[in-house]
Subunit: 320 residues, 6 copies
């Protein structure tokens, strides 16, 4: 069941993870272009039976100014409110508002960002298209545009995540000094990215994060979604170098090196989808050690509801 | 993928399902004994970060007066409130309060009953023991005590469900004329049972219900938990008649015949765990046809969050 | 192993398959627009060790005039040559020239069309992008743009197939009265489509064709790629009608109704991916009965090299 | 296929396995209480067509004096006879007498102990209930009562095993100086336990024993039954320490440290259910090295009939 | 789980099963040739710790006079003894003597015939070669020599079975009027064959017999060993007719038509390896209806030890 | 996914692989006997639609002079031609000529040797029997006659491969100084063997070769065909030493030590069937280091069409 290094080695696992020289420049340019692209945000009352918190159906401008959907849930209170921006796991979308009540019920403004082009694989789906074509790709999002960092799908999605933080900062009831980012799996990877690339993020809570240490992940797990990359390279046998170069722009290890906000990372030692060594590679790369919650006997479900609880309590301490 | 009859046949599928002559007497006696056993209910504030609704940690007396745990969530309002009593799927328990916010956030008092002896198979588990031994049983709860209706595990669990309804009726803020029961899978089977055996239930919403039409279910699916019964009979080759007699006391088809409250049943046509014919067998046995929500392309996850939405809207119409 | 109707029923299986009123108009418009979009074809000698036949690396204009790649192989002869246009199975691309020698070695000009956006799932892949984004889609190509016939991926791919026939007709050595279309699985579905939509196709050889009788296929197989559609509908629970309307524009049954050229169809009775009833539904819909080659004990691999042989011999008879 | 350490490392594998300070006291008290609980043994001729050996249907008092069933088979001879007490693998029961003829046919008195509460998972089952309830448990016996050594299922089953040895010592034809214990898998684990806890055991033959070195076993195999413990801990995320403390009272490594009788242990190097390192951990912990029979290419079936042969021959040498 | 027709249809299932015109002639000639081939039988004391019954290591002449191994076990008694000749399931061999004690312990002489060329797939194997080569065959014995009845493997094995009966009839202590044949799966198929082809067989007990109604079996199960035939035909696409002609010489349905001795057949309704319809096809073809033991919830393990018991009791009644 | 050592260790992996003292004498004698056995070769035009190259249906004498089938394809040219002798993967046969066009189309004479007794497991099969019986064997060819090097199946097949090279050397248009051997998997193992045992082989191209370093292979993979050997040894528990002695006569590592011709070996790092360490063990044993083509993300399909290309280009350089 343990599919990876033992815990004592994981605690100090710090592999070399290559980083392109223009990493910061790439993202600065990308985000600047997205902000410059404009696009208006819209927020209307959501059609939901939920009444104990307010719920809005949001559209905000993401990569290229393209519209991204979200739910916004918040206490019936005037603010200033601490705020949590949440990103979703691979294949899913923002779903329905009543599926996301915990944070608002605990007193937080809460933006649940939809995932462009995904949102049709599990749960109740999403509503945001990804209006970009791609070269020949393996089924799934992992290899769309992967032969160049400029065309890679995750360039767009990471930018959406940064722009989601921008969006909540425009809301008057949100306390701009108390904005956290969070998510599970792909959502956790995006939380690391937003924590690295947006300087107003005050806390990061990343659960069993995906998108970390690709060079190892692609080789040690045969589970999706990392395996989509291996599948692609098993057909396109001459482009591995180029592909890993692209991935180095979105690698959570490089993101982690840039995070200065307080961070909690949860990891599951029997995680076959996001192997623990890939998660520790990111955790151990942070300039300030994060709080790591270890689930010894869990696969990728990790801490589940228990981790929501620990995370809410930790956010309470960190954000005040 | 279709593992069962086509929809047009399901709509009118009314198999013969045997019912013991003393069915009503058996349950009347069982419930009367449980009520007579006494045992005090207790309700204390739950340890949770949730503030938008009130949350209580409940212990109420179930079968034999034995303590059963539950969460009680309700709007911060004086009442009278409509109330939903919810039962949990196989292997699970009441979990954590922040996992059950939708009903209270939509204005309902909401009791989430724990499941005795289960609660260690998925999610965040439960807290209620089942203090009864058993003869040689196949792994799981399905065959514990199955060679007699008196010792059968589900006699105890169904009684707990009925007593959970009793419990909410003791709460002053609950409107006793607007108490619904609901649940998914095993929880749906228990909702049918409580709807049949408790005369103050005003609405029943059973999603992809388990525990229906055992004679067919045990033969057409090799998925757990129905298959636990087949596995048991594959070893104990001479007790099938006795086992099916026991099961006839808890069969959802016989329960359905006795339900008079408005009922919504959801069913998934690709459900390999609770095959749709077993669900329609129950739905079609009701004296008044229930509203049936059909999910054509889903397995046992059924309508998931979408069905929560439909169910909440239907409860709003039915309970006012 | 038999996953479908018995052979004697398959022989006469003629289900009702809905067809939109504007089917012919839709395709006439689509193809006319593609032809009008222009775009130049290019053909250069391929980089390959093959010398016994000539091999060219082709780019021709497909849907929207967008560039589509292909290999062109032909005998070292002056012509006029009979010509076979071949389409590839799901997930694959045109691969490498030496993988496609049989037809040219048997005396045919042979165009192997690449598949836009696919070509990274098996074999040696492809080289043609699909420069169109999509709404939230399930992994794979089946559900990209599926909520409208205008945006659906297969509208583009079918148009590419028709334009590939256009392309070979521009080649002086190709005898324009002896152009056949062929393919396996998705390639077989495209062959049926090109045979229906292009009036200069003189023969159609479709092996274990995909893209036929979606309403049934999506319900009876849980194998990819049909299951991508079911997976999509299991999340997007309210759009089934719209999705099946889109699919009705590319259904091989409706294509088959329009094919007048001599046709050979091969089918495998243990095919779990393209169930035989879906293939017979198309075969039995043709105005003139096709020659049907039945492989009784094969799964989706069907006749494989044996069918190549039978097909080559049949083409020899049909095309002279 | 090798799922564990290589053989040369296994030969000297001696991990630290924690042992509670009151281990001996715990068992001394437990066994003393069982012996004090009384309960009469009963032995009647079995209903079987077997005539070449005598067969009796036995009930003897086990844990808490509770009745435990067994078969007693013996040569038609006066004695004194060497005797073998056998315990059964997980999920099974004593089955039918004609399934247990080898030992008696080879000259031994032979008691086949039933397994309380199991006996409905394979073969022809068993007849002994386990009249004790449990807290929320994962399906199977491994986690019943596991949060305390006092309530743990295996406390009861080990005690039954010790009491089975007590029982054969009451039989006049049994030579009390020549009583061996044996079993496969769970039966092997119980043989180690009885060999450790009963001072009149003269030989121990444990095949592919289960219940050894839990801390490692639970982490390196995802096969049942060890995985039941991991599954439990994946839901009850905060009780691992308590659970492993309970398990330390029944760990075969601690049992092995206490065995002084001659011992044969068989082990299979491709055993995915009871990994060889867990077996060698016990074998290498014995004060006197046991005879270890290694099956290099077997999974958990181990030596099967070949090992029965080797074991019978070894018993012949050891018991005279 | 039910993989076949419902029981009420099975009870009267009498499919047409083709029989070659020279079926009887073929077998008469084959057996006559084998008897004419001579070859001496040899029987020496077996090397085994078993003493309660006598055990001999036998070699007798089978097909072509080639040596076939067997174990002979019998009570220490003078006779005349009833005798059971047993054949082994697919892939197995005669194993070790202590694995076959039940019949001798119940008072029968018992010959356990080894299976030529098999005996290396499970258990403790066998000792009899099959000194015949074959054309290209799929892995396993099912397709060795299958393109002609003369070269087919099962021609040799069925002849061995008939010659095994011949062998026990040479033993003075065996009562020649009380010789039964029995076996499980392949052994059951051979028991039907020996019962049909040897006129001194006084009883047939065939459990979940294999080798029946090939035309159906090969199409409805994808489990080995029937699937070896489908696999062969999936590669050799043009020889199905020839293969099924060969199989018609060993089909248990044709054998059953010729059995006049009292017969017990056991069948498992969830048998995926030897589907119940293929077994009932044989049972229902007998001139005198056999006693059919139905195991409703078992897969191919069928009645296991319970069926041994029922079979021994039935033999007691039938053979006296 | 990486199921073996990391690449940097593979590059220098040189395990001890035992070699029998009479290895060279054994093969010298075996091949001499085969050559002495005589048997005429026959070559007739093949029945195929292929015209661009000539195709002949060949029968040549192999082991024991027994007839072995092959296809011979060659350019329509006078010669002298370089020639490639190809061997086929496990379970397959020579198939149909149009499946083997690449080499002849690139200018090589090409002999595709059929595989005795195989040729019914995939593709379009083969036509060569193996007229030798065997002792009890596990399904498949791996264990036929395995208890002695003299009777082992691969003794015969390796001899066929050497005799195939003899055959092409008899053809006048073949340049005897430019004969290469090649193959994939089993074919690669045979290419290594022919390269070692035939002194006129001028180049060896072995792709993902099978039959290398059995002692390790049998222990680290549970995939067929290596696992057939483990399965055999799991039943025949006392013959491992004898079996590995037999295998040492055909081990590709010992073959590699004897290859002096230029060699290309391809290996796939995620190959679960022929694990990369077993391939590198052979590659690293060669007296002159071969060219190794590494496919990092492929399973046993390895380089597929890409490797055909690399191999053809390399042959062009090596053979001129």
């Amino acid at each position: 069941m343990i599919t990876d290094l033992p815990l004592e080695q994981l605690r100090t696992y710090r592999p070399e993870v290559a980083e392109p020289a223009d990493f910061d420049e790439f993202w600065a340019r990308t985000i600047a272009e997205a902000r410059a692209a404009g696009g208006a945000a819209e927020s209307v009352p959501a059609d939901t039976p939920v009444t104990a918190v307010r719920v809005e159906d949001v559209t905000f401008p993401g990569f290229g100014g393209e519209p991204v959907r979200a739910w916004y849930l918040a206490p019936h209170a005037d603010g200033p409110l601490p705020c949590v921006v949440e990103f979703i796991g691979y294949g899913g979308g923002r779903g329905l508002p009543h599926e996301h009540l915990a944070h608002a019920a605990a007193g937080y403004a809460h933006l649940v960002m939809d995932t462009r082009g995904q949102g049709s694989s599990w749960g109740t789906g999403g509503d945001t298209p990804d209006p970009h074509g791609a070269g020949p790709a393996f089924a799934g999002m992992m290899t769309r545009g992967i032969e160049s960092p400029d065309t890679y799908y995750y360039r767009r999605l990471v930018t959406d995540a940064v722009r989601a933080v921008d969006h909540v900062l425009t809301r008057p009831e949100v306390d701009p000094t108390r904005v956290a980012v969070t998510g599970i799996s792909q959502g956790g990877g995006l939380a690391l990215a937003a924590g690295a690339l947006h300087d107003q993020v005050a806390a990061v809570a990343a659960d069993v994060p995906f998108l970390c240490h690709f060079e190892r992940a692609v080789r040690i797990t045969d589970a999706r979604p990392y395996s989509e990359i291996a599948a692609y390279l098993s057909v396109r046998r001459n482009v591995a170098e180029q592909v890993f170069r692209t991935l180095s722009y979105v690698d959570g290890v490089s993101m982690a090196r840039r995070i200065t906000a307080p961070t909690m990372i949860s990891v599951a030692l029997m995680d076959a989808i996001c192997p623990p060594s890939t998660v520790f590679a990111a955790a151990n790369a942070m300039p300030t050690p994060p709080q790591v919650e270890v689930y010894h006997f869990n696969d990728h479900e990790g801490g589940a509801g228990e981790q929501v609880l620990r995370s809410l309590r930790w956010l309470g301490e960190v954000l005040g």
